[in-house]
């Protein structure tokens, strides 16, 4: 450090090393992703040769006959993710609003802390808890819900007959618990970017707290909140072990009945990989690649939305 300051403008050895390491690390991640994509595309060959386009449209998944249709699992992935969002989004938003706008600092800390703890519980713990503790009481709750809505068109098919403890809905509930902390913490940060002046302006006009939130906070953070929700969606769709344990592992079933057992793309891979033959494995690799593409797309779109909304709100400051 005692050296004279070098003003030649040439990068020092340390600078060059840092530069190289940083580029190397960044490139490494991209190379790994690309290699995964290439390797997997190669491995899905056999099933596409056999099934052709039917792979994406057929609803039959029969390893015994060598027939593989991915549609039921795509449906299950989307359906459980939607259920999870419907349950998790309102809770997350209200928690985020409570923490940022209503709670005193004494309350804020423990709530944030507990929510962050929820985010680090391993998913297999949620899954086992779902199977061993939640499944049976939920079945009774499902039955009551079904009896309550029986006869109402629409609702009676969603909350359908002969509910089971392991179902789309059970998986949706578990996934909702898992994504709530993610959505909440992002929503919190987005909401906190609302300029104090906007809020004070609303109060100055005589707005109540709720009116202030509606008039200043929500319009300001809309984009960022959508992004937060989509990040939760990505997580819900990719969740494997928890879903595999509680979703019920039905084969080839597409139904709107949320109380029926279902299956999702990651769950079927986790369940069937161990005993699969070549073609069966190739069908699951193709499932994995589809999931890979879908989650990357969801993540890219959501982070783009979050970034754009952040730039806009910083501009307003």
């Amino acid at each position: 450090m005692a050296d004279k300051l070098d003003l030649s403008g040439k990068p020092s050895a340390a600078d060059r090393t840092f530069h190289g390491l940083a580029i190397g690390a960044a490139a490494f991640v991209l190379i790994v992703l690309a290699m995964i994509a290439i390797e997997m595309s190669g491995r899905m060959g056999p099933v596409l040769d056999k099934m052709g386009f039917d792979y994406f449209t057929s609803t039959r998944w029969s390893p015994a006959e060598g027939l593989f249709g991915a549609l039921p699992f795509v449906w299950g992935t989307i359906y459980t993710a939607i259920i999870a969002l419907v349950l998790a989004v309102p809770v997350s938003l209200f928690v985020a609003l409570f923490v940022t706008q209503v709670a005193t600092p004494t309350w804020r800390k423990p709530i944030v802390y507990v929510l962050d703890l929820l985010a680090v519980v391993p998913s297999v713990v949620y899954g086992l808890w779902g199977v061993l503790v939640l499944a049976q009481p939920l079945q009774k709750v499902f039955l009551r819900i079904h009896e309550a809505v029986d006869g109402i068109p629409g609702l009676q098919s969603i909350f359908g007959a002969s509910p089971q403890g392991r179902s789309f809905m059970t998986a949706g509930v578990i996934l909702a618990i898992m994504i709530t902390p993610i959505i909440t913490s992002l929503a919190r940060e987005v909401i906190e970017t609302t300029p104090q002046s906007d809020k004070e302006a609303a109060f100055a006009l005589g707005a109540t707290r709720w009116e202030m939130i509606r008039a200043s906070v929500l319009p300001h953070s809309k984009g960022g909140l959508v992004g937060a929700v989509m990040l939760g969606l990505g997580r819900a769709m990719g969740e494997t072990i928890a879903a595999a344990l509680v979703i019920g592992a039905s084969i080839g079933q597409i139904t709107i009945n949320a109380f029926a057992p279902g299956n999702s793309m990651p769950a079927v891979i986790a369940n069937e990989w161990g005993e699969a033959d070549e073609l069966h494995k190739s069908a699951m690799v193709a499932l994995a690649l589809m999931l890979f593409a879908i989650t990357i797309a969801v993540n890219l779109v959501s982070s783009a939305i979050v970034q754009r909304s952040l730039r806009r709100s910083r501009g307003a400051l």
Partner: protein
Amino acid sequence: MKIWTASILSIGLLASCGKKKEEGGGGGSAGAGTGSASGAGPAPSGKATINGSGSTFQKAFQEVAIEGFTKAHGDVTINYSGGGSGKGRQDFADMVTDYGCTDGLYKDEEKAKLKGGEFVYVPILLGAITVSYNVPGVDKLQLSAETIAKIFQRDIKKWNDPAIAKDNPGAKLPATDIVVAHRSDGSGTTQQFTLYLEKAAGAAWKLKSGSTVEWPADTQAGNGNSGVAQIVKSTAGAIGYVDLPDAKASGVKYASIKNAAGKYVEPTAQSAQAAGEGLEVKDDLTFVSVNAPGDATYPITAPTWCMAYTKPADKAKGAAVKAYFQFMITDGQKLIPEIDFAPLSKTLQDKAIAQVAKIQG
């Protein structure tokens, strides 16, 4: 700035979750390179570590056999990691392991891909798969293959159905709804159970046989034998297929099944061993043991094998594998009844001993 890091972090997290899954998928081939590389070094004669993986059906036996064998051969270490028959076959084919154990066989086109060349199947034991049930008030139940097929296909949905009553003359059956439990994971147990129904129920069974079949939608799925047993135990009216040790461990009741000779037989280690007596065994010691002939035979009896290469690359490991295989089919057989499996019949054991002799250790 905070939101920046938060979103980047969570994106990174998601990406790494995705990555893990893909790596798991490609694990078979990635592991192959390291496995064969580490096996290349010559080990001092006598001292050896051998690794096996595969069938969870015989994992309980592998554990007691390894304990028994290493007591006598202190210089040999054996690791058996389970993971399922499919994994056992894959690892063995890629030479990640020194021996593999499996309930199912390689297809002919897969045999060409075995990196270690010629290998032998050695039958290890037979095990009964029970049809476990939970019907309050019913302590004895008899079922024929046709009835089981109808139950698991949801053709019959009440316990007092005439088809069940016909198998159980004089029994009082309640009008309880039947709840069918099956495996959520791909499984050799499902494979053998459905193979039995395919062979014994004939046209009445329409779902074919395999490690995963197209179960009707209104059935329940549990993970592993213990998962199915848990559903049966906790659900009134439930029925499911569970291997005998797990059925005993969880305390569920199980049915006597009508065998090929028309007799209803209870699943026990003895009735499963009886299935091994009159089997048609091929030259490579593979066979089908479901629906086997014999008055005392329990018909849903599943086989399991271990596999070893006949020309092992590493002599010390080869010798250890050979000695361990010899132990499993001779002295090791005495350990089997304790864990509720069936030892090999005398004829099968003699053939297995001849088979193990082909391993050049």
